[in-house]
């Protein structure tokens, strides 16, 4: 009313009039894993294929320790069902941990090494992409075998070359191909592998790889 009045007093005068209408903004803590879905426990079950049974046995402790200790996720092997089961604990900090652990175990089941799969636990942006040879090109019999041979190269050197160049990990399981790495790197690796499947010689793939990785390196 009076122009001489300071702003704050005006606000103060205005505020109490509206104070009753709006409550203060609430601040919520993020939900814990347990609290989610109304306090029920979250599960993940990862099936174990036949050929990964023994390796799983051998590397069990390597799997168990980081999951239980660092991710704070319960893990157990259901021998009867041949599945690895993961469960959240009350002190699991983040619900994403469960998913990460599931992915980690799943990657191991696909065929990746523990040390490579561990990266999934540590980094967020790593993904696993899988595709089949027949998705790229329909090959039968000898052609298929040759394609597989082309992909790996002599002693696996082509595969290793792609892995080293693109900072990914590749698993060629018969006709299935799994690639583990960041999104862009997966793309590059996939392109190289597809060109190999299509029939281009390894040298060509190498040269392309060199160019691409150089460009990638320059960017950073």
């Amino acid at each position: 009313m009076q122009s001489n009045m300071p702003l704050s007093s005006m606000e103060v005068e205005a505020a109490p009039s509206e104070a009753k209408l709006l409550p203060p903004k609430p601040k919520f803590e993020p939900l814990k894993a347990h609290e989610m879905s109304d306090g029920q426990v979250q599960f993940r079950k990862v099936s174990v294929p036949q050929h990964r049974y023994n390796p799983l046995k051998k590397a069990w402790m390597d799997i168990y320790t980081p999951i239980y200790e660092q991710m704070k996720i319960d893990i157990r092997m259901n021998l009867k069902a041949r599945k690895v089961e993961l469960k959240t604990r009350p002190d699991t900090p983040d619900i994403s941990n469960l998913q990460k652990c599931a992915d980690f175990v799943h990657a191991f089941m696909m065929g990746f090494d523990i040390i490579d799969a561990i990266a999934l636990l540590r980094m967020d942006e790593l993904y696993v992409e899988s595709f089949e040879i027949k998705d790229v090109k329909t090959l039968r019999g000898d052609h298929l075998s040759r394609a597989i041979g082309r992909l790996s190269g002599k002693g696996g050197k082509t595969k290793f070359a792609i892995e080293n160049a693109t900072k990914t990990r590749i698993v060629i399981a018969d006709t299935k191909i799994h690639i583990l790495g960041s999104f862009a790197n997966i793309k590059i690796a996939r392109d190289s592998l597809c060109s190999l499947i299509m029939g281009s010689p390894a040298g060509k793939v190498y040269s392309k790889l060199r160019a691409v990785t150089a460009r990638l390196a320059e960017r950073f």
């Binding site: 090494d113 040390i115 490579d116 290793f160 160049a165 060199r210």
Partner: protein
């Protein structure tokens, strides 16, 4: 006959009286009178030549040439007869005195008649020539002069002298041969001169006889030539022969002034004025030629030179008036000059090309020597490849590692992260590892090579490498042997190999031994395989159970 003679004389007189230039234009009346006059003269002279076939000069319907031939037909034997008579008189001078009894005028008249006849003949020819061709009066005068000379040449010296006067008369051109009485030719002077000549003849008979014949012959030969100079020279020569030394000198030094007494300049100017009125430019040239001829008759060397220069000047002026030849014009295209004319002309232009070398034996020998020398020296002019300048720094090629990476994916990303955060802590790249391996290898090789050479010895590099060496002696004594000697040679055979039993070569083995060896190998392999798959077997057993 009397009528005819009267008519003839009448005709002569009429010719004399006519205006000279009228002779230039073809005039039938004049020609008629001329013909009549010549016929009269012919018949007048007829009694003097008995052998003449023609009794009368046939003029009706006859050509100038034909008329002239008729005259010539009569005059030739007449002249020869006259010559004979003169010779006769020369031999017998007394008869001359006898002749002298006859009045000189008559003789002179005879001569004059002769002269007239000749001159009339010339006149006719003049007129007839006018009909036929366009010739100037002066040219006709020239002809007259020439003919007079021709005829005069045959005659004796008296007549020659007469003809000289005649020439001069002809040169005059005014008379046209018709006028006897002239300012140049005066009868009195003529008679005096003739007397003088007769005296000369009496004095030098023999010489005349001898030499005249020769000269007459030459003159007869020269008759056909219109070369005045020759005739003049002959005349001069004759004069020289005829006269005594003094007279000869006088005659040689005879000049225009002696005869005419008037200056050349005046005369020539008069003449030229007259001529230009009458004649065309061609006639002028003829006049000039006449003048020259006239002058040459009494010309000095200087005058001759002047004449030469004059003629040259006229020639050059004439050339200047005409258009220049194509070689003297400036820029000439092929169309402006005649075809292939450039081939004939010696053109001079700059050749910017060095002429091709002529290959001789010496040249080839020199070249071959140079080649041999170069080969022995090894000094060749090989083309060196120009070094390519580096446009930009060579891009570092990233080597692809074919081997399985020793680090896990997590570690790789970890390293990447660390690198991003802290750029200094860069790990040893694959390339650097390779470099290190290569450098180590090379050092080893270098040491061995140095040992071989022993010249540049370098001590063995200390490579800190922990390795278990089996065959090392407990005590390492310093060996004085050179470095090149290997350790294997140092060691005793037992130290090198410790085996048992009888070691046999591959070839020495028997069949059984070979079999035994194979069997042993198999056993070993099996054992190892079992060992490897031992667990597997156990597991299989467990599972099956």
């Amino acid at each position: 006959m009397a009528d005819s003679t009267d008519a003839g004389e009448e005709a002569l007189r009429r010719l004399m009286a006519t205006y000279q230039p009228s002779f230039l234009a073809p005039n039938p009346a004049l020609s008629e009178t001329a013909r009549a006059a010549s016929r009269h003269l012919f018949s007048a002279l007829r009694p003097f030549c008995p052998k003449s076939p023609l009794d009368q000069l046939l003029v009706d319907g006859f050509d100038a040439e034909q008329i002239w031939q008729q005259i010539d037909l009569q005059s030739q034997p007449l002249l020869s007869s006259l010559r004979r008579q003169v010779k006769h008189f020369a031999k017998n001078p007394k008869e001359i005195s006898q002749l002298k009894v006859v009045p000189l005028g008559k003789k002179v008249e005879k001569e004059q008649e002769e002269w007239m006849e000749e001159s009339d003949g010339f006149d006719e020819e003049l007129e007839d020539d006018e009909e036929g061709e366009e010739k100037g009066e002066e040219e006709e005068g020239m002809e007259i002069e020439d003919e007079a000379e021709e005829q005069g040449g045959e005659s004796g010296s008296e007549e020659e002298s007469e003809e000289e006067d005649e020439e001069e008369n002809g040169e005059d051109g005014e008379a046209g041969g018709g006028g006897i009485e002239d300012k140049f030719l005066k009868i009195d002077e003529l008679t005096k001169y003739l007397e003088k000549e007769e005296e000369n003849f009496e004095n030098a008979e023999k010489d005349m006889r001898g030499k005249k014949d020769d000269e007459e012959d030459t003159e007869e030969e020269d008759d056909d030539d219109d070369d005045e100079e020759e005739e003049e020279s002959d005349e001069d020569a004759e004069f020289g022969f005829a006269d005594e030394d003094e007279e000869a000198e006088d005659m040689e030094n005879a000049r225009y002034e002696d005869f005419f007494g008037a200056k050349k300049g005046k005369y020539s100017k008069q003449k030229k004025a007259q001529l230009r009125q009458d004649s065309e430019s061609s006639d002028d040239e003829d006049d000039d030629m006449e003048f020259k001829k006239q002058n040459k008759g009494t010309a000095s060397t200087h005058q001759k030179q002047l004449e030469k220069i004059q003629s040259k000047i006229e020639q050059m002026e004439k050339a200047n008036l005409e258009p220049k030849t194509w070689t003297m014009q400036g820029e000439v295209t092929a169309a402006k000059r005649p075809k292939n004319s450039a081939l004939e002309v010696d053109l001079d232009f700059e050749h910017n090309v060095r002429p091709a070398p002529v290959i001789t034996e010496e040249v080839t020998a020199s070249i071959e020597d140079m080649i041999k020398k170069r080969i022995t020296e090894g000094h060749f002019n090989d083309v060196q490849r120009a070094p390519k300048l580096p446009s930009k720094a060579p891009r570092e090629v990233k080597e692809l590692d074919d081997n399985k990476s020793k680090q896990g994916l997590a570690e790789i990303y970890e390293q990447e992260y660390v690198q991003k955060e802290d750029p200094t802590s860069a790990p040893l790249s694959f390339k650097d590892e390779q470099k290190q391996q290569a450098s180590v290898l090379f050092k080893k090789l270098g040491l061995k090579l140095d040992a071989l050479a022993h010249f540049s010895f370098a001590p063995k590099p200390v490579i800190e490498d922990m390795s278990v060496q089996i065959n090392v002696p407990a005590l390492a004594m310093e060996e004085i042997a050179p470095v090149a000697v290997s350790d294997a040679a140092m060691l005793a055979p037992e130290e090198v190999f410790d085996g048992k039993g009888d070691i046999k070569e591959e070839t020495e083995l028997t069949k059984e031994e070979r079999k035994r060896r194979r069997a042993n190998k198999k056993r070993k392999f099996k054992a190892a395989a079992v060992k490897k798959t031992g667990k597997k077997v156990q597991e299989v057993h467990c599972l099956t159970k």
